[in-house]
């Protein structure tokens, strides 16, 4: 298979200055997405370690692999984890999870942790679909919308496009601004057609940067339609892979006339779901302790 341009790089991280041995309650969240899987470990409700890996063709193995990688080098074992919540597409077959909660609830809760209680609107662009979520000051979902078929401005569309142009996905954003004039967005309603339209532009001699710009702006306008339906309320944050693609984010901010809170240092927007799941795990564990 040729080089994989369209996958975000895999990595793991342990937050500095934290020691799990001093922690009371250690919980985990495992987000098995359609394209990438994330595992997050929290100690007493604080982010301790996380890892991001490609989702393989079997979700139970992917969950196991990404969890082991998160544990790697910390000295922690799986049975030190008091409670685990599975989320994402493959949430039902995370073998070691105590409970499954959808990524909509987890992304809202995770965004609340990462950006604080002023967050009211969370945009999550996962591999498969795009979600616009309203939440309250504690990260509880009050309403949400997911893209319907024709407006399928999914992460998937961007990945296929990056692959088509053999441009590593992290560079799609910056490259899409190396242009003199902002081109007309690729206009078609459907990702399949947007792609063939963009290929047509290439054929007309447009250079890559211009075509990337046209495609990013088409993606941004499609997401803005979803956001306009749910009425964006301040503060607005973006989670998921697309948050790292300034080509889409900057153009989206211009269309809806509102800036998203910037990404926090050391907090990858792709793990928002995993963090939310780990925090739910802590609350669920404490509820069980109180009840017992």
């Amino acid at each position: 298979m040729n080089k994989e341009y369209w996958r975000w790089p895999e990595y793991r991280r342990t937050m500095s200055g934290k020691d799990w041995r001093k922690a009371e309650v250690i919980t985990a969240g495992v987000d098995v997405g359609s394209v990438s899987s994330k595992a997050v470990i929290t100690t007493d409700g604080e982010l301790y370690a996380y890892s991001i890996k490609r989702t393989g063709s079997s979700s139970p193995d992917s969950a196991q692999r990404v969890m082991n990688w998160a544990l790697e080098g910390t000295g922690l074992k799986l049975d030190n984890i008091r409670y685990t919540v599975g989320t994402g597409y493959g949430r039902v077959n995370v073998p070691f999870a105590n409970r499954a909660i959808t990524e909509i609830a987890c992304h809202a809760r995770g965004a609340n942790y990462m950006w604080g209680p002023t967050v009211r609107t969370v945009l999550d662009m996962g591999g498969q679909d795009c979600k616009a979520i309203h939440c309250d000051e504690r990260g509880k979902v009050t309403a949400f919308l997911m893209n319907d078929k024709c407006a399928a401005g999914t992460g998937r569309g961007m990945e296929v496009f990056a692959d088509l142009l053999s441009v590593p996905i992290e560079e799609v954003g910056p490259m899409s601004f190396k242009i003199e004039k902002e081109p007309e967005p690729v206009s078609s309603t459907c990702v399949v057609f947007a792609k063939s339209e963009a290929v047509g532009l290439l054929r007309k001699g447009w250079q890559k940067e211009m075509v990337l710009a046209a495609f990013c702006s088409a993606m941004a306008s499609r997401i803005s339609e979803l956001l306009e339906k749910i009425k964006v309320e301040k503060d607005f944050v973006i989670t998921g892979g697309i948050a790292k693609n300034i080509g889409v984010v900057n153009r989206l901010e211009k269309i809806i006339g509102m800036k998203a809170l910037p990404m926090k240092e050391g907090l990858d927007p792709m793990i928002a779901g995993g963090i939310g799941a780990a925090l739910f795990a802590k609350a669920l564990y404490e509820r069980e302790q109180k009840a017992a």
Binding site: M1, V32, S34, G56, S57, S58, S59, P60, Y89, G90, V92, N93, G127, Q128, D129, K149, C150, A152, T154, R156, G157, V160, L165, C190, V191, V192, F193, K195, S196, V199, G200, L202, R203, K208
Partner: protein, 261 residues
């Protein structure tokens, strides 16, 4: 008479050189971003393979999505017209030629001289047949060449979304997570495209014999699914992706349709 046909396809450029109804040489390369340069490269490669220089070629006819930027061409013909001529040349009993490429699906009806009389192209929601299979083989982590054969080993037919390739893709992800066997998923993928291509061909009305061409015709899984859905035998040439270029090359020798560029 020596003629050449250039098929400026979405994914690949294909060239065929013909001498009095005999294929002298053929070749293809990825279209990439500069289709004109790619076409020039492969055209000259095929020339040398045929041991000819450019002046020896009496007519060069272009076809395919990018035919306006085809180098050296002094004639053009629509993709459907080329499919009809090429399919008929290889199978004189052919009256219907189905062409399934990377982006589009097409079907053509021709008369007893190989001239196109009617055509259909796939509807918007059913676009991207070829790229759909590629994306799915990547999701299943299987080589593109193997996914066809794998689908033949399926035990049961898993229903999949009828209308839209994007939602069909996300359904495959769900099937993966529900631990459906890869063979069954592969079968579901091929059945889904076969349904769309059959649906399109029925719009044209199927007249026997039916020839299947285009890059996806090399996928045995797809051929088997389409045969089952259409309920008719399918004639598949060895190198189905060259039929368009062959049809273009045949045009000057047949003097039917097409026009000076």
């Amino acid at each position: 008479m020596i003629t050449a046909g250039i098929d400026m396809g979405a994914k690949n450029v294909k060239v065929v050189i013909l001498k009095d109804g005999e294929i002298l040489a053929k070749g293809q390369t990825l279209s990439g971003f500069d289709q004109k340069a790619a076409a020039e490269k492969v055209f000259n490669e095929v020339l040398t393979e045929a041991g000819l220089s450019r002046e020896k070629i009496d007519h060069v006819v272009a076809t395919g999505a990018g035919k306006d930027v085809a180098p050296y061409a002094n004639g053009e013909i629509s993709m459907m017209g080329a499919d009809a001529l090429g399919g008929f040349f290889l199978f004189p009993s052919a009256r219907t030629v189905i062409d399934v490429g990377a982006e589009e699906g097409r079907a053509v009806k021709c008369d007893d001289k190989g001239k196109m009389v009617d055509f259909v192209i796939n509807e918007r929601c059913a676009a991207g047949a070829g790229t759909f299979v590629e994306a799915m083989s990547r999701a299943l982590e299987i080589e593109l060449e193997e996914i066809g054969a794998l689908s033949l080993k399926a035990e049961r037919a898993v229903p999949m979304n009828a209308q839209c390739t994007i939602f069909a893709e996300s359904e495959v992800v769900t099937l993966i997570h529900e631990k459906t066997s890869k063979a069954d998923i592969a079968r579901a993928i091929h059945d889904a495209i076969a349904d769309r291509i059959a649906s399109m061909t029925r719009r044209l009305g199927i007249q026997k014999d039916v020839v299947l061409v285009g890059g996806v015709a090399k996928n045995v899984g797809f051929v088997s699914s389409l045969k089952k859905t259409l309920g008719v035998n399918l004639l598949v040439p060895e190198e189905p992706e060259f039929v368009g270029a062959l049809g273009a090359a045949l045009l000057p020798q047949k003097g039917i349709g097409g026009s000076e560029k």
